[in-house]
Symmetry: C2
Subunit: 223 residues, 2 copies
């Protein structure tokens, strides 16, 4: 099933300095006043559901594009396309993360001249994506309640490099033993002052704070 | 906090042929009649909880060792140590997976002469660990209900290479929209005949089938 969504094969670059290329990507985006979000999380944390609700909250205000990175398949791209956002599917060919070169390649294919915000849904993985600056304006990480409050201890880099932490699926807290205070304490050691926003992307609870944060960041970027 | 658990730093080998080394690891284990399980899953799918219940079910019958692989921390090793199993913590130094060389290094440090079963709890990641044969007798993958039934479509290699699939956290199915038939249908396309066992490692439901499968495999390996 393709549904007319373009699929782009992207390949990891052998690059001594991904950071240099990431700065070039970011400079190019700044010139075009396009705000790129690098959205990272474990498999099944709710990246796509969060994106759909976010797009629906912002689509009257901004022109939005989405790059869906996946090892394979395009199930998420099909879901996102239903929002009316401009969507491209990126296949990483087995690679466990996106890098700056792959991101530039995706942006070129997507075409960003008419876009205010682009979301990159990175590969579902708490390890590898944290290591690669893709050139985004902001990194946003989703941790879901069922994964447990100890994840910052086990995947510290992800929680250190991110700019905003969404705690998703709070509507399921009744069946999980998730200690929000313990989570906040361990995140605070890694990344003091990080915005932490509990929400339910499925039900909508807590979503306004995230949308407000995002609008503020987008406006600051485009000022 | 160390609690006397040994911590071993393991480094990814630059190795053209990980598969050759994996066969050497497997041969060495077969000679010692030690059954190595490569346990793989997303972050928070319940690897450690599953291990604790599995060890408690088998510890009167077998001598059990555990290698806890983590990018950092030893929260899981501390939990496992409470079962009385012989535990070693492996730190991968940022690497997103274990390979055969790292596994041999861990086995050497653990010491397996007195062990019937060794569990390797791999890094929480559905992408990279699937690519590396570590030399285990069997690969076991855990998918948890909150992650969703579409994961085989998105991370096909993991579901193709594994020998046994545990569907964990079935006690939370009431709050998640998880289609077991859809899951089974997509797994069947990738890996026909794969044993799929729904269970709750927290509550114990469905656990007997998994323990029976494991005992059969261990006995076959040691025969």
């Amino acid at each position: 099933m393709n549904n007319g969504i373009r699929v782009k094969e992207v390949k990891a670059h052998i690059l001594e300095d991904n950071d240099v290329l990431a700065e070039q990507v970011r400079d190019g985006l700044r010139k075009k006043k396009t705000f790129l979000v690098n959205l990272m999380a474990s498999p099944g944390a709710g990246k796509t559901t969060t994106l759909v609700r976010t797009i629906n909250a912002l689509k009257d205000r901004y022109k939005i594009g989405v790059m869906e990175a996946d090892v394979d398949s395009q199930v998420d791209a099909d879901t996102i396309a239903e929002t009316g956002a401009k969507v491209i599917q990126l296949h990483t060919g087995g690679s466990c993360h996106m890098d700056a070169g792959m991101t530039q390649s995706g942006l070129d294919e997507l075409g960003i001249d008419d876009l205010d915000i682009v979301f990159l849904e990175n590969i579902g993985n708490l390890v590898c994506p944290a290591e690669f600056d893709v050139g985004a304006a902001k990194k946003v990480t989703i941790l879901s309640v069922p994964e447990g409050d100890d994840k910052p201890l086990k995947y510290p880099l992800m929680f250190t490099v991110t700019d905003c932490l969404l705690i998703n699926k709070i509507d399921t807290a009744v069946v999980f033993d998730f200690d929000m205070d313990a989570l906040k304490a361990s995140v605070d050691k890694l990344n003091p002052g990080l915005p932490i926003m509990p929400l339910s992307s499925l039900k909508g609870d807590g979503f306004d704070a995230w949308i407000d944060w995002l609008i503020n960041e987008v406006e600051a970027w485009r000022a």
